[in-house]
């Protein structure tokens, strides 16, 4: 039984990353927490991950606010090439 609960750092950090989006399952979280008891490196990773998630959130807010538009020249060029291909 314990064998199935034992995971590597690679697997643990994968679950940790998944959990940043709130999508890790309970089974995965149990495995992660057992790993965190014995692994200090992954504890550090988890903590840093939270900081990074906050950064990404701020970044995301910033990016989502920008509406991208094509320039008038690009549109004209597109119209011309579309007309040629009609």
């Amino acid at each position: 039984m314990f064998k199935t609960l034992k995971i590597t750092c690679d697997q643990a950090t994968t679950i940790c990353d998944k959990n940043q989006y709130g999508e890790a399952s309970i089974k995965e979280l149990i495995k992660l927490n057992i790993h965190l008891i014995i692994c200090r490196i992954c504890i550090r990773y988890s903590k840093q991950n939270v900081t990074l998630s906050n950064f990404y959130k701020g970044y995301s807010k910033n990016c989502k606010g920008i509406a991208h538009c094509m320039s008038v020249e690009d549109k004209e060029a597109l119209k011309a090439s579309l007309a040629q291909n009609k």
């Binding site: 995971i7 590597t8 750092c9 690679d10 697997q11 950090t13 994968t14 990353d17 998944k18 940043q20 989006y21 999508e23 490196i41 550090r44 990773y45 840093q48 991950n49 900081t51 990074l52 950064f55 990404y56 701020g58 970044y59 995301s60 910033n62 990016c63 989502k64 509406a67 991208h68 538009c69 094509m70 690009d74 549109k75 597109l78 119209k79 090439s81 579309l82 291909n85 009609k86």
Partner: protein
């Protein structure tokens, strides 16, 4: 009749949909030239198959479905041409240490985390630079999930990948980003 209606509207396609399609594309590929190309290809394909348009969906929906195919084709292309070599490993991938941290990639403590915890333009630029250093497909998946905040299911459907596939990519992207931020932001 729908056919006729469709032909009539082709002249207005660009005015009506170019910006929408462009915005849609750029949130996925984050490259303006590439996005322009994909939008152009979408209009061309739309033109070619205009006679197949049955009017079941709106014009915009129909064009977006073509664009989605273009994006998935692009994703497949970057997925196949870039091999494993480009991915920087963070863990041993075989031997007795399999799954353990590579010594040189072990997370270091961020001593100055508190003073670096401010969100400003500089941070934004550094994040952008780090994301752009990722292999293309990881950057694309990471952006869709983290920046655009799409549902997992939606990304999987759109790119034709499984969810475990997606989480492995997110994991690799994030470990790489962590290292990049450590080197360039926290401990520089």
């Amino acid at each position: 009749m729908t056919e006729q209606k469709n032909i009539l509207n082709i002249n207005k396609w660009i005015d009506n949909y170019a910006d929408y399609l462009y915005n849609y594309t750029i949130s996925r590929v984050n490259n303006s030239d590439l996005a322009k190309d994909l939008v152009q290809e979408t209009f061309f394909s739309g033109l070619k198959s205009a006679k197949n348009f049955q009017g079941k969906a709106t014009e915009r929906t129909w064009l977006v479905s073509i664009l989605k195919r273009k994006i998935i084709d692009y994703y497949r292309k970057i997925n196949s041409k870039k091999g494993k070599a480009e991915v920087r490993m963070n863990f041993y991938d075989d031997g007795e240490n399999e799954g353990n941290w590579l010594e040189e990639r072990v997370p270091q403590s961020w001593d100055n985390a508190s003073e670096k915890n401010i969100e400003n333009e500089e941070l934004k630029n550094q994040l952008e630079a780090c994301i752009n250093k990722l292999p293309e497909k990881y950057a694309m998946v990471f952006r869709m999930k983290t920046v655009q905040e799409f549902e997992t299911e939606e990304i999987c459907k759109e790119l034709g990948i499984t969810s475990s596939n997606l989480w492995v990519m997110i994991h690799r992207a994030r470990t790489q980003l962590r290292k990049c931020m450590e080197d360039n932001w926290f401990n520089n």
